[in-house]
């Protein structure tokens, strides 16, 4: 694997991790873990395939592991009404209009798809491969995430939480 090719991807991994986690140090830790895991799984890399998608896939899996692993005392994570802010979020209307804090009100899996589309400009099919989910799921998460973000930005947070979407 070419070091220059990897070096070129690191800023993108950082940007995405930072947007996902909302915290610089945690994001860099995640990127570091991702690169370490990538090197340790080099044998899984198929030369000629999409390096970016592979690295983002590793990062996604690490993140899922991190969320899933708190073994004995955790609840299973549902796809729909997951409230899992990555840091304390204020509820005053002014801050909710801020897109970064609004982003943190989205469930992880919606934020993930939204960011891959907005920042990475990945195609829906590539996102499906990267995250290991069907394209239909990508579309529904994207649609729900965008709508929820819009409602939060409109200060309509109560609706954003209560709306049942599938």
């Amino acid at each position: 694997m070419d070091s220059r090719a990897i070096l070129a991807e690191i800023p993108r991994l950082r940007r995405y991790a930072r947007a996902m986690l909302g915290d610089r140090a945690a994001a860099d830790d995640l990127v570091q873990d991702t690169l370490e895991r990538a090197w340790s799984r080099l044998f899984q890399w198929r030369p000629g395939s999409d390096l970016r998608a592979w690295l983002f896939g590793i990062m996604h899996n690490l993140r899922v592991d991190q969320l899933r692993r708190p073994g004995p005392s955790t609840q299973s994570i549902g796809d729909d009404d997951l409230e899992l802010p990555t840091r304390p979020t204020q509820t005053d209307a002014l801050e909710l209009r801020d897109i970064e804090s609004a982003l943190n009100h989205l469930p992880d899996e919606q934020r993930e798809v939204l960011l891959l589309v907005a920042l990475e400009e990945m195609s829906y099919a590539d996102i499906a491969t990267t995250l290991g989910i069907p394209v239909g799921t990508v579309m529904s998460r994207l649609s729900r995430g965008r709508e929820r973000l819009r409602l939060i930005m409109n200060g309509d947070n109560a609706n954003a939480r209560l709306r049942v979407v599938r």
Binding site: I10, R14, W39, Q66, M153
Partner: protein
């Protein structure tokens, strides 16, 4: 006019400029007659641009050295710089200790009438499987820092823990059963230090072996099984040693591992 109805997927794809030109024109024609929908998709477009302008500047930030270095294969033994103490004692962990202390205190307070005296309460310490299960529940979920000393320094780990618990102790090898040692730590037991070894399998499932040397009764016991919440525990007493093997895996598999652990410890 448009043969196909405009779907939600069309609208999302419109925002992402992922529609073929012909379909794009059809969708735009439809949007022209649907002001509410047009407003909604234009809000999505704004979101997308806002996210880009918020996070794009990160692309130009200089890379931290640790990350830039990882563009090349890391040397086999990459040692991370030690984290500051406060960070190692993460908030979660501190919260866990406080919670355990509170529960302990509360339990003592609530039950003090049911026991003849404080003295006899002190003589009824937490059982071995319960202590092991609590230690398992506290430390095994820790993703980044589950152990104090990692298995890379196994010799040091063994020497240190043996010295601290006052008896030679060696972690069994469980590779054949799919579990690799990831390290260990020292814990407070009922009356002195206790060692905990942690293992992990390929799926990230963790297993801990809790070794205490403060077993006062010196009464050997056969395998016993206890269930603490979702954590299954096999434990046994061998002379002054008390062993407890904990994991959130099914009883049958844990029994198999416990047998292997027992055999290896017996042979030493």
């Amino acid at each position: 006019m448009s043969a196909q109805p405009v779907t939600e997927a069309d609208l999302q794809a419109w925002v992402d400029a992922a529609l073929p030109a012909a379909r794009r024109a059809e969708v735009e024609g439809w949007l022209a007659s649907q002001p509410a929908e047009a407003e909604r998709v234009s809000a999505y477009l704004e979101q997308k641009q806002a996210l880009k302008s918020l996070f794009d500047p990160l692309l130009d930030e200089p890379l931290p050295e640790a990350l830039a270095a990882l563009a090349s294969p890391p040397p086999a033994a990459v040692e991370r710089p030690p984290k500051p103490l406060l960070e190692r004692w993460s908030l979660q962990r501190i919260a866990a200790s406080v919670l355990i202390a509170l529960i302990g205190g509360l339990a003592g307070w609530m039950t003090h009438d049911r026991y003849p005296s404080a003295e006899s309460l002190a003589k009824a310490p937490l059982s071995l499987p319960r202590r092991a299960a609590v230690a398992h529940a506290v430390f095994s979920p820790d993703v980044r820092r589950p152990v104090e000393v990692s298995a890379e320094n196994e010799d040091q780990l063994v020497a240190w823990l043996s010295k601290r618990i006052g008896a030679p102790v060696r972690p069994p090898k469980l590779g054949a059963l799919g579990f690799e040692l990831i390290g260990g730590r020292l814990l407070p037991g009922n009356s002195g230090p206790v060692a905990q070894f942690m293992y992990q399998d390929a799926t990230g499932q963790r297993l801990t072996l809790y070794v205490s040397t403060d077993n006062a009764t010196n009464q050997d016991s056969a395998f016993r099984f206890a269930k603490e919440g979702q954590v299954n525990v096999f434990y046994w007493i061998d002379g002054k040693f008390g062993y407890a093997l904990s994991a959130a895996i099914d009883k049958g598999r844990l029994a198999q591992i416990a047998t292997a652990v027992y055999d290896q410890l017996d042979r030493k």
